[in-house]
């Protein structure tokens, strides 16, 4: 028996080395191999697969490939990906070593939990630019973090929902959310959306149903059903991966605001508009800066928290389900945020009034308060947006209640 196994092993090793030799000979024949040191190479670490057709990884992969095309890189040749990397420091570090070994000049990590590994490896590879989404760490040489002011787009979607609730004479608006106040990312979205609703309909009540996972089609569906059937909601907004809440709204004859992509195609009779990301805006900016001069990356790009102004976030084109006043009101609010005249989480509140064709906006000083009355920003005070971006928001504003 032992002899048998030793022979077997020899055979296996022989097969291995044959392939190894084949590899040496043909390393330059195709694929990404070869010594093209002058080439700029992009590395990416994904939480799911680049072959997904929707969801978070899909959105980033789409953004990276589009961004590469914008600045003249070929995603089929210059992009190196390690996919399905869990939030495990050791696995992220190995992924980074792989990408560094392949000569990547900039490495993107799209998931929050990659933070420790990015922090450590940025020190180990000072010549590579490390760029980490949704985190809060950076250094002043080669490690930044990036995220967008999606709350600005949420506010605009809230305006559309507010007008719809006025038209339907129903103040109950529902929100299917992955998480509640545990994550600034979700609760800032809920708050901004609620404030957009209230700017149009001061009596609006936003009911949040938390599903406690980033994506689960069944739970998303059930949450939307509960919000409509039990809480009588007439508009369903969402912060979760699939279009299920919109599909439910469509089935039940109510309305909704999707997320991440224009969900009008999934819910043609229900969907109003959706806050969307244009990740390619950031990726093109970052790759261009790293390509031109990696040493000045942190002074030129730095930590990147753009919003409506850069086109990093936006709302999808308004569907015909929106009320006639919606577009004018959204444009008014959008222009105020783009010009920097006003931002969502400040001590100034907007209110919209007037019929279609003559929609007006009024600004009034009013404190930003949580739903239990604690004052966060005094009336007239400045916006708290860096807290939103860096993850310290952990409360709901007035008008929001979590139902589960």
């Amino acid at each position: 028996m032992k002899k048998l196994i030793s022979m077997l092993v020899t055979a296996a090793l022989a097969v291995t080395s044959v392939f190894a030799l084949a590899g040496c000979n043909s390393a330059n024949n195709g694929g990404n191999g070869g010594d093209k040191a002058s080439n700029f190479k992009v590395g990416a670490i994904y939480i799911n697969s680049q072959n997904d057709t929707s969801g978070y990884t899909y959105a980033h992969h789409h953004g990276i490939t589009e961004g590469m095309k914008k600045i003249g890189l070929d995603p089929a040749k210059d992009l190196y990906i390690v996919d399905n990397v869990p939030e495990d420091d050791e696995k992220v570090k190995q992924a980074i070593d792989q990408l560094a070994g392949n000569g990547c000049n900039i490495i993107f990590g799209i998931s929050f939990g990659y933070i420790n590994a990015f922090e450590a490896k940025a020190k180990e590879y000072p010549d590579i630019v490390f760029s980490h989404a949704t985190g809060y760490l950076s250094n002043d040489k080669n490690f930044n973090n990036y995220f967008g002011r999606i709350y600005q787009a949420r506010y605009l979607a809230g305006i559309a929902a507010g007008y719809k609730s006025l038209e339907l004479k129903n103040n109950n608006i529902g929100y299917v959310s992955a998480w509640g106040t545990e994550y600034a990312e979700t609760c800032s979205g809920i708050n901004a959306f609620a404030m957009g609703c209230i700017a149009v309909n001061p009596d609006a009540k936003i009911s949040v149903y938390e599903i406690s996972t980033w994506g689960d089609q069944q739970l998303e569906r059930q949450a939307a059903e509960t919000l409509i059937d039990t809480y009588g909601c007439c508009v369903i907004a969402q912060h979760c991966d699939s279009a299920q809440p919109q599909i439910v709204a469509n089935e039940k004859g109510v309305f909704g605001c999707g997320y991440n992509s224009d969900m009008t195609k999934e819910a043609p009779n229900a969907h109003l508009t959706a806050p969307v990301w244009n990740w390619d805006v950031y990726y093109a900016t970052a790759m261009k800066a790293a390509m031109e001069d990696p040493a000045s990356f942190m002074t030129k790009v730095g930590n990147y928290y753009e919003g409506l102004k850069a086109g990093f976030v936006d709302v999808a084109p308004l569907s015909s389900n929106c009320t006639p006043e919606t577009k004018e009101a959204i444009d008014l609010a959008k222009n105020m945020m783009i010009s920097g005249e006003w931002d969502v989480f400040s001590g100034v509140k907007l209110s919209f009034s007037g019929a279609a064709g003559s929609v007006g906006v009024a600004k009034a000083d009013a404190a930003l308060k949580t739903n239990d009355g604690t004052e966060i920003v005094a009336a007239g005070g400045p916006s708290v947006d860096d807290g939103v971006i860096q993850g310290s928001m952990n409360y709901y504003v007035e008008g929001v209640t979590q139902v589960n």
């Binding site: 048998l4 296996a12 390393a27 680049q50 089929a76 495990d88 420091d89 050791e90």
Partner: protein
Amino acid sequence: MRKYHLVRRADSKIGRTIIFYAVGILVSLLIGAVILMALGINPFDYYGKMFTIGLVGNRYGYKSIEGFLKIFVPLLITSLALGLSFKMRFWNIGGEGEFLIGAITASVIAFNSSGIPNFVTVLLMCLAAMISSGIIGIAIAALKVKFNTNETLMTLMINYIMLYVIRYIGETKADWNFFLREDSERPKFGTFPDSAVMTGIPLGQFKLLWSVIIAIVLTVIVYIYLKYTKQGYEISVVGDSSATAKYAGMSVGKIVLRTMFISSAMIGLAAALTVSASGTISDTVTNNVGWTGIIVAWLSKLSVPAIFVTSILISILQYGCQAAATQYPAIDSNYADLLQGLILFSVLVADFAANFKIVKKEDAKNA
């Protein structure tokens, strides 16, 4: 109706086994090649990168070897440990759970070790992990010996219990939870202080971690233990027939308890070495060695030298698949997993075909 049936081959010709294995692997690689070509990728190029674990043209090749060894060490030790219990016909499929227990206890020490010398900390981590995992192993063995419970179910359940324990630790932000990063709003496992991170022998840029040396020494010890000691002999007697063992005056219960303690403690050691080498813990820290180890142990027919070699080959397969997939944007890890599955499956089929043959019923009597 049944015209054909299976008969174990009376002779086992080495030449035939090798041919069957080679054919099996070739067939699986061919299937993989068809998929690669459909995606417009040169299979020779891809397989070349895979079997050289992406070393060709790699700027930091030594890091690839370090990464490969970090996959290899826990797989080797866990497979050896599982092999011990399988030799006794004790179906320990709780490798994952035993690994996680060890990883958690080692991390408890690691996170609280600032100021303690590195050598002492790592030693304490190893001891604590071995004792905690060993106790779980001995507890399950005791239930088996005392009440004849089903050890397959018991060990299986431990996997899930421990998986949810570590997820709970990883997702619960609380004052007591020293496992997490303090400055993070979201729950996120922290990193060990330097005092708990495995050191090694620097060979140029490459660092040979002590864990690799420990694993190799342990392999030799297990080999000697099974082959030349009384206890090792007892294990195989119990495995062949516990009635025989009893008749020969062996205390079967004691042997089962002792062996399960050693087996689980070894897995605990693998866990301590792993968390120390990576400087952190996570719910994917096992890298599935508790499952892969079962395949390694059986592919190796529970022979220690074969386990050593099979662990190397499986680690090359795992690490190489990822290394190759990285270089092709169209290839994701699902393809890498598919290919690994194909290769393992075909090897198992080849092994089966080398040991059994299909015969017509009337021939069966003559076989």
